[in-house]
C-alpha cells in the first residue's frame, strides 16, 4: 500500500493540472465549438510570465499570480475570442484547428522574440513550497506542490460547477455552441456568453500553467505540449461534453502515469517512455472506442446555409490566355533558377535554395493530404523521419545506398501512414488531427529515440559513401541536381493525381461525403490512398532532408515541425502545387534573410511568428493568403492585359452565371441523414 501511495501521490499534481486543462478545453468547446489547440500555449505564457516576474523582477508571489493568471489569463482568452474565433465562429473545423495550431506555434515564438530564448529556471509555487513536506499520507510524504495543486483544483472546479449549475450562463452556453446566430435570434447576447467562457477558460489555462511549473526544474514549452496531449485524452474520454468526467479522467491519468512508472523497472526503456506514451495510448483508445467522438464534426449550424460558398482556386478562375502567360513565366523562372544555381549563386544561397527544394518536396505531402484529402495531418514530419531513419538504419546495418534505402523508407512511411489512415477511418477533422498529433508525439518520445536511432536518441551522420554520386560534396552541384529531379518527379506525380480520377473523387469527397458515397465512391479506399501517397511523398522529402542536413536525428522530425509545416503551407495555400513551392522557398529564404537581422530580434522564432500570423488569416481566406493575393493580382492583370472580366464571364461565383445565378440558397433546417421526414 505504501508502495502504491508512494507512486500515486507524485501523480496528483500532474493529474490536477491535466484536470484543469481538460475542463478548460471542454468548457471552451461546449461554449464556442472551438477545440482550443492553443491551450497549452496559454498555460505556458502565464507560467512564463509568473516565473519571470518572481525570479527576475522580484515581485511578491501573490502579485505575480494576480498579474499572470487572474489578469493575463482571461485577457488572452478574451483576445482570442474578440480578434480571432468570434470572426470564424461559422467556419468549418479545419479553419478553427488551423487558427488554434497557429497560436500554439506562434505564441511561444513570440515569447522568445520578446524576451529572448533564455529558459526560466526553478519556477516558484503559488502557495506552498515544493521542497517542504507538509504531511504524510499512510507514511508517504506529500510536498507543497501536491498540496497546492489539490487545493487549487478542488476550489476552482467546485466554484465553476456551482456557477454553471445554478446560473443562467450554463444554459446559454449550451445554446451558443449549437448556433450562436440562432441563440441571438432568441434574444440572448451570445457574444457576451461566449466571451465569458473564453475568459474563464483563459484563467483556467493560466492556473494550470503556474500549478504545473514547479514540478519541473526548468520551464520548457515542450512540457506544456505534453500536458496538452494528456488533457486532450481526458477531454476525449469526456466526449468534450462532461466537465466532471474530464476532471476525473485528468486526475486518474496523472495518478496512473506515475504509478505505472513506479512499478516498471527503474531506468528501463519502458519507465522513461511511459510518461510520454501513456497519454498517447489513452487518447488513441478514446478516439478508437468512444463513438461520440466520431460525430463531433457532424453537428452543423442550422444557419450554415446562409454562408457564402468558398471561392474556387485562382487557377480555375483565370482566362486561358492568362494561363498561357503564367505557364511561360514559370518556365522562364525555372530556367533562370537552374542556370543561376549552376553558375553564379554563392554557396550560402545555393544551400538555402537546396533546402527550399527539399521543403517543397516535403510540403507536397501536405498538398496531397490537406489540399486534396481535406484532412489536417499533424504527423508529416514524423512520416518524413520514418523514411530517413529507415534509410540510415539500412545504410548502417546492411550497407544499402542511402537513396535506395530512402525509397524503401518512403514505402515504410507510406505504410505507417496507412496504419494511421486505417485507425482513423471513422474520424474526420478534429478527431483525425488529434490522432495524428498523438502519433507524432509517440514517435518523438518513444520510437525515434528508442528504436530507430539505436537506443540513445543520438543523431546518425549521413556518410558521403552512403549516397555516392558526389551528392554530399559541398562544393559541387550534385545535390541540387538530385533535389531538383526528385522535386520535379514529385510535382509531376501530384499533378497527375490531382487532374486524374483520384483528384476528382477527392474533390467530390471534400465537397460532400454523403454525395460522393451516394455516387459509388468508396470513401475508405480514397482515405487510405491519399494517406499512403502523402506518406510516400513525405518520406521522399524526409530522405532528401537528411542528405541535405548531413544527419538523421529525432530533433529534425519532431511534432513541432509538423505543426509549423502545416502552418506554413496553409499560409501560402494548401490547395495547389504552387502553394507548396512558395511555402518551401518562402520558409527557407525568410530564415536566411533573418540571419542578417541581429539575433536579438528572435531569428528563427520570427519566421514562425510570420507564418503563424499569416495562417491566422486562414479563416478569411481558406485558399491561403498568398493564393488570395495571387487571385486579386491575376484578375487585375487579366483586366489590364486582355480586357476580359472574369466576373462577367461567369467564372466568379455569385456574380453571374445562369438564370438563377447569385440567388442565395434557402436555409434547410433538417439534417440530411437521420432525418425523420
Amino acid at each position: 500500500m505504501q508502495h502504491f501511495l508512494g507512486f500515486a501521490i507524485p501523480g496528483v499534481p500532474f493529474g490536477c493540472t491535466y484536470a484543469i486543462v481538460a475542463v478548460g478545453l471542454v468548457l471552451t468547446y461546449q461554449a464556442t465549438g472551438v477545440f482550443n489547440f492553443a491551450y497549452g500555449a496559454q498555460a505556458y505564457v502565464s507560467a512564463y510570465l509568473f516565473t519571470r516576474l518572481v525570479q527576475n523582477n522580484h515581485f511578491p508571489v501573490w502579485l505575480a499570480f494576480v498579474l499572470s493568471v487572474v489578469v493575463l489569463g482571461p485577457v488572452i482568452g478574451l483576445a482570442f475570442d474578440r480578434f480571432l474565433f468570434r470572426k470564424i465562429a461559422t467556419t468549418n473545423t479545419t479553419a478553427k484547428l488551423v487558427t488554434g495550431i497557429s497560436l500554439f506555434v506562434g505564441i511561444p515564438a513570440v515569447l522568445s522574440v520578446i524576451f529572448g530564448s533564455a529558459n526560466q529556471y526553478s519556477p516558484p509555487s503559488i502557495l506552498f513550497d515544493p521542497g517542504t513536506v507538509y504531511l504524510h499520507v499512510d507514511g508517504t510524504p506529500v510536498n507543497g506542490s501536491a498540496v497546492t495543486a489539490v487545493l487549487a483544483t478542488v476550489a476552482i472546479l467546485v466554484a465553476l460547477g456551482l456557477v454553471l449549475r445554478f446560473s443562467n450562463l450554463g444554459l446559454q452556453m449550451r445554446g451558443a455552441v449549437e448556433s450562436r446566430r440562432l441563440t441571438e435570434l432568441d434574444g440572448v447576447n451570445a457574444g457576451r456568453v461566449v466571451a465569458v467562457a473564453w475568459a474563464i477558460s483563459g484563467f483556467l489555462a493560466g492556473l494550470a500553467g503556474v500549478l504545473l511549473a514547479p514540478t519541473y526544474g526548468e520551464l520548457q514549452f515542450n512540457d506544456y505540449a505534453a500536458l496538452m496531449v494528456a488533457a486532450f485524452a481526458a477531454a476525449a474520454w469526456a466526449v468534450l461534453r462532461s466537465l466532471s468526467i474530464a476532471a476525473l479522467a485528468g486526475v486518474l491519468m496523472g495518478v496512473a502515469t506515475t504509478t505505472l512508472q513506479g512499478y516498471l523497472p527503474v531506468n528501463s526503456v519502458w519507465s522513461s517512455a511511459i510518461f510520454t506514451s501513456f497519454p498517447f495510448i489513452v487518447l488513441v483508445a478514446a478516439l478508437l472506442f468512444v463513438p461520440g467522438l466520431r460525430r463531433l464534426d457532424r453537428t452543423k449550424d442550422p444557419l450554415s446555409s446562409v454562408d457564402p460558398p468558398t471561392p474556387p482556386s485562382v487557377s480555375s478562375l483565370r482566362a486561358p490566355q492568362m494561363d498561357r502567360v503564367i505557364r511561360i513565366l514559370w518556365y522562364v523562372l525555372l530556367g533562370g533558377f537552374v542556370v543561376s544555381m549552376l553558375t553564379w549563386l554563392p554557396t550560402t544561397w545555393e544551400n538555402v535554395f537546396n533546402a527550399g527544394l527539399v521543403f517543397s518536396t516535403l510540403f507536397l505531402s501536405i498538398t496531397l493530404i490537406t489540399g486534396m484529402g481535406g484532412q489536417l495531418s499533424l504527423a508529416q514530419a514524423t512520416l518524413a523521419g520514418v523514411a530517413a531513419f529507415t534509410a540510415a538504419q539500412l545504410a548502417t546495418h546492411f550497407g544499402f545506398n542511402f537513396l535506395v534505402g530512402g525509397l524503401i523508407g518512403a514505402v515504410v512511411a507510406s505504410a505507417v501512414a496507412v496504419i494511421l489512415a486505417l485507425a482513423s477511418v471513422r474520424l474526420r477533422g478534429l478527431g483525425l488531427s488529434l490522432l495524428t498529433i498523438a502519433a507524432a508525439l509517440f514517435f518523438d518520445n518513444t520510437v525515434f529515440p528508442q528504436a530507430l536511432s539505436g537506443g540513445h536518441g543520438q543523431s546518425i551522420s549521413v556518410l558521403p559513401t552512403w549516397v555516392g554520386l558526389g551528392v554530399t560534396n559541398p562544393d559541387g552541384h550534385a545535390f541540387f541536381v538530385l533535389a531538383m529531379v526528385v522535386l520535379l518527379i514529385c510535382i509531376a506525380g501530384v499533378q497527375l493525381v490531382r487532374r486524374g480520377t483520384t483528384g476528382r473523387f477527392l474533390g467530390a469527397i471534400r465537397g460532400s461525403e454523403t454525395g460522393a458515397t451516394g455516387l459509388g465512391i468508396n470513401l475508405t479506399w480514397q482515405h487510405v490512398l491519399i494517406f499512403a501517397l502523402s506518406g510516400l511523398v513525405a518520406g521522399i522529402g524526409g530522405t532528401m532532408g537528411a542528405i541535405q542536413q548531413g544527419q538523421v536525428s529525432p530533433g529534425l522530425f519532431n511534432y513541432q515541425l509538423s505543426l509549423v509545416f502545416v502552418v506554413v503551407v496553409v499560409t501560402t495555400g494548401a490547395g495547389t502545387v504552387e502553394g507548396a513551392l512558395q511555402a518551401g522557398f518562402g520558409f527557407v529564404v525568410l530564415q536566411q534573410l533573418l540571419t542578417y537581422v541581429p539575433a536579438r530580434f528572435g531569428g528563427n522564432s520570427l519566421v514562425v511568428v510570420f507564418f503563424a500570423f499569416g495562417a491566422l488569416t486562414y479563416a478569411a481566406h481558406p485558399e491561403g493568403i498568398v493564393e488570395f493575393q495571387k487571385r486579386r493580382w491575376t484578375l487585375r492583370f487579366e483586366r489590364l492585359i486582355f480586357h476580359t472580366d472574369p466576373a462577367t464571364a461567369g467564372r466568379i461565383p455569385g456574380v453571374s452565371g445562369g438564370p438563377t445565378g447569385g440567388a442565395p440558397p434557402v436555409a434547410v433546417v433538417e439534417p440530411a441523414v437521420g432525418d425523420h421526414g
Binding site: 506525380g493 487532374r499 480520377t501 476528382r504 458515397t517 466568379i652 425523420h676
Partner: protein
C-alpha cells in the same frame, strides 16, 4: 406499366428504423417494379427520407429487408449500392462546390464504373474520353442545363443545384432513382420542366423512380402509383387520384377531416 409476373426491382419488406425510441419508419413494405414510378408522399416527419436512407445505405434499419433484383442490399455499403444502380438526389443538396457542372457528371460516371485507378492517373490516362463527354452532354441536354456545363456549381442557385444533382444521378444510368423533393426551390416553370424530364426518362430509359415530393400537382403528373406515409407508417397505396381521395390521407396530409 411493368409485366405483372416479373419480380419487383426493389423489394422493401418490413423495414423499421427507430431513432432513440422514436419510430421513424415502422414496418414499411414497398415494391417498385422496373420502369415504374411511385410517388412517396406524406407530411414532414412521415419517414420518407429515412426510408430513402435505409434503401441507399446511409442508415441501417433495425428490422426488415431491402432487395434489389433479388439481391439483399442490407450488408452492402452505400457506394456498392450506388454501383448496383441505385441513384438518389438529396433533400438538402449535396453538391461538390469546387467543381463545375460537367465535372460532377464525369465523377458520377467514373464512380459508377469504378474506373478510378491510380495507375491510370499516373500514366496520364484519366482525361475525359469522347464517349464520356458525349454521355455527359446528352444528360445535360436532357435535364436542360447544357448552357451551364462549365459553370462552377458554387455560383448556381438552389434550383440549378437540384438539376445538377438530378443530372449527376442520371448520368450513371441507374436502374432506380430516388428523388428527394427535387422541385423544392424551383419556380413553376422549372417544376413543369422537371416533371417533363422525369416522364421522358421513364418512357425512354425504363427507369424506376421513387419520388418524394410535396408538390402534389407534379407528383400527379409524373407517377403511376402513390404511397402515402404518416408517422412512419404506410397509410394508403394505389393510383394517385384514388389515394388522394382517401379520407385518411386527406386528414393526415392536408388536415382535412372527412
Amino acid at each position: 406499366m411493368a409485366e405483372p409476373r416479373t419480380p419487383p426491382l426493389l423489394q422493401v419488406a418490413g423495414v423499421t428504423k427507430i431513432f432513440g425510441g422514436i419510430l421513424a419508419v415502422g414496418d414499411v413494405t414497398i415494391n417498385v417494379n422496373r420502369g415504374e414510378s411511385i410517388g412517396l408522399v406524406g407530411p414532414n416527419g412521415a419517414g420518407k427520407t429515412t426510408l430513402f436512407n435505409c434503401i441507399c445505405g446511409q442508415l441501417r434499419p433495425e428490422r426488415g429487408t431491402v432487395e434489389l433484383d433479388g439481391v439483399s442490399l442490407l450488408d452492402l455499403p452505400t457506394y456498392k449500392r450506388a454501383r448496383m444502380g441505385v441513384s438518389r438526389t438529396y433533400q438538402r443538396i449535396e453538391v461538390f462546390p469546387d467543381m463545375t457542372v460537367r465535372e460532377h457528371l464525369v465523377v458520377a460516371l467514373r464512380a459508377r464504373q469504378s474506373t478510378g485507378r491510380l495507375w491510370r492517373d499516373m500514366c496520364n490516362l484519366s482525361s475525359v474520353t469522347t464517349d464520356e463527354s458525349g454521355r455527359v452532354d446528352e444528360v445535360l441536354e436532357l435535364v436542360g442545363i447544357a448552357d451551364q456545363a462549365e459553370v462552377p456549381v458554387a455560383s448556381l442557385g438552389l434550383g440549378s443545384c437540384r438539376l445538377v444533382e438530378l443530372a449527376r444521378a442520371l448520368v450513371s444510368e441507374p436502374v432506380l432513382l430516388l428523388a428527394d423533393e427535387p422541385s423544392s426551390g424551383l419556380d413553376i416553370r422549372e417544376t413543369a420542366e422537371l416533371a417533363n424530364v422525369l416522364r421522358t426518362l421513364q418512357h425512354e430509359r425504363g427507369l424506376a423512380l421513387l419520388l418524394v415530393e410535396h408538390d402534389l400537382g407534379m407528383v400527379g403528373e409524373v407517377v403511376d402509383r402513390a404511397i402515402v406515409m404518416n408517422l412512419g407508417n404506410v397509410i394508403a397505396e394505389g393510383p394517385f387520384d384514388t389515394v388522394m381521395a382517401d379520407p385518411a390521407v386527406r386528414h393526415a396530409y392536408l388536415g382535412v377531416t372527412a
